[in-house]
Symmetry: C2
DNA sequence: TTGTAGGCGTTATCAA
DNA sequence: TTGATAACGCCTACAA
């Protein structure tokens, strides 16, 4: 591979001049003919500056790490990746994908100065702050996207929405339809700890509507769809049987629909199902899935846009993190409806059975 | 950030010794107590070697680029990413994700020596060979995964399967059920050029079974599910109406099922649907989707495993690329069945109408 | 067993 | 408008 020296020799100038031309810097201070000669030589030799050498002297890699969701490649993460990708590409940055469950690797990447920034896109979002001490260069940044539980600014720039609010929207919808026995399907029991605010909001909101509620788990270590099927079947066995199921994400919900179909239970005739996230597939399930739209794409775009802006802005390296808030909203499709009349009647005179 | 010099000073040794200890090289040639002193100093100072400096002197980045599918984050690519991720991580490599449609960027990454290898995971797989001239370092590699149309070894290591064979499995299945009017749903018409062998195999195989066939397209520039819906509705309008639909991938097939449900057409009662790839979701659609299993995960694993092996093997840099072949197989679920009797009868006396 | 010196390819500083 | 020189942080002959 040709180096800058080869080019300078071929063009009869110094490496400095070549560097100037290649970086389009001090362009006024370079004679047009010299410039042309350099470009010609570079082209002829197929010269490309070494990223490693540049990073060594410049301290920046123009690479950003993104921490993926653990184990399963969930739909919501696919959205984050796709949106991040688009924006980074528009600004000449590269995307390094770090497998979920390997947060330690993320720290290494920062400390080895292999990346300029890290984006935390998994739960709990608050833990992004743990990365703070992995920052070793003045321009390095940390950002996070997702729903946060507590304070709106956990020490780094966060694009967030409120899963508690989204949960309330779901429960409000079901309560308004007349449901009075709702099950929350959070996945494996270990997941509860990751979404404490969803559970709290669910219970609190159900209580406010005087709606009876329960939680149905899945076994750990299985794909989302399978977990959904399992939770659906378990919910059917509960007594009294819930009239509506609230799945923590649309992947689960899709499995739930499959499980109910398999059991011969009509949706929404016998049981209503509501999902969470509004994944692209939600509009194409059978029946189309009522769900809560989480502003994943919007939030990701805003976050990454801000991030690259901050990285490219040399004037201010200590900018305080500005967090942005986005809203969830209910998307009503066909998987929810009023509970069956028979159920409604029975419910009112079997209050004790719980 | 502490440098190797800081550590050497703190430990009272030379940078060379620190390097030796950190890289665990010549470990026998380092006194145990010196070693301990160095490690202690490194730990205390929070020392991490600079990736840029290492890359500059060593010529390797331990990073691999993966070219994603264009525009849409399709299911099959999610599988490729996930499997690649797992293997790379086990070998201390990092994954750089390049957006589809930006093949030029892939070349830049290689030429700037920002990555040690590039994995081509989009169609047409043959075009991976175009990257050959972007290789500038002796150890750099190119690999590809997917279905290839022509020769089994297009100049780089390829883990492949045969979409033509898979297509034949689909058509054979439908023909055996008694279908005699099958539509192929390849997506937008621009996609036909990317999968010429599937179309050819489809037509050829239908002819062999004396089955009438047609092709139904979708408009370009829309998400997969929407395209599936559109193709389904268009297929319903065709005269004579096909009794079975073969979708080029399961994302389309999912949309097709949604479109048919929306139109009130029973599957497989009135129309059979068969997909391609055996995406994880295929077992959870309504009805569960009959599809052709493409060995995406298996092939990806094998490819990446070989790739890192080759990269880490200093002894031989000119190893000839060894391509591996994997088999597709039919997965029968509930979306296919015999054509409706009425249709079957009409078909035999309306041969001319086409 | 340890240290010294040189170089990897680039950019930045300063001088011409 | 151009060029010499000195880093950037590490590794690797070679020498001690």
């Amino acid at each position: 591979m040709a180096t800058i020296r080869d080019v300078s020799a071929a063009a009869g100038v110094s490496p400095t001049t070549v560097s100037r031309v290649m970086n389009d810097l001090d362009s006024e201070h370079v004679a047009v003919e010299t410039r042309a000669r350099v470009l010609e030589a570079a082209e002829r030799l197929g010269y490309r500056p070494s990223a490693a050498a540049r990073a060594l002297v410049g301290g920046r890699t123009r690479t950003i790490a993104l921490l993926s969701s653990p184990v399963v490649y969930t739909t919501w993460f696919a959205i984050v990746v796709e949106e991040t990708q688009k924006i980074l590409d528009g600004h000449g940055y590269h995307l390094l994908l770090v497998p979920g469950g390997h947060e330690g690797e993320l720290r290494e990447l920062l400390r080895e100065r292999r990346v300029d920034a890290a984006i935390w896109a998994r739960y709990p979002v608050e833990r992004a702050t743990d990365l703070a001490d992995a920052i070793v260069a003045p321009h390095q940044r940390i950002a996070a996207v997702g729903s946060i539980h507590a304070s709106p600014s956990p020490g780094c720039c966060v694009a967030w929405w409120d899963d508690a609010a989204g949960t309330r929207q779901a429960v409000d919808h079901l309560a308004a339809l007349g449901h009075d026995r709702i099950a929350y399907l959070p996945g494996p029991s270990t997941a509860l700890a990751l979404w404490p605010n969803m559970l709290a909001a669910f219970e609190c909101s159900c209580d406010a509507h005087a709606v009876r509620h329960m939680v149905v788990h899945a076994d750990a270590e299985q794909p989302s769809f399978a977990a959904g099927v399992q939770m659906a079947l378990r919910a059917l066995e509960a007594t009294p049987r819930p009239t509506a199921l609230f799945a923590r994400n649309d992947d689960f919900a899709l499995g739930v629909l499959s499980g109910l179909a398999q059991a011969g239970v009509a949706v929404p005739g016998e049981i209503s199902v509501i999902g969470y996230n509004d994944a692209p597939v939600a509009a194409y399930t059978h029946p189309p899935l009522t769900t809560v739209h989480a502003p994943i794409a919007e939030a990701t775009r805003a976050l990454v846009e801000d991030l690259v802006q901050a990285l490219d802005d040399d004037t201010d390296d200590g900018t305080p993190p500005v967090s942005q808030h986005f809203l969830t909203r209910l998307v009503v499709r066909d998987s929810t409806g009023p509970p069956p009349v028979q159920q409604r009647r029975r419910s009112s005179c079997a209050e004790v059975s719980r």
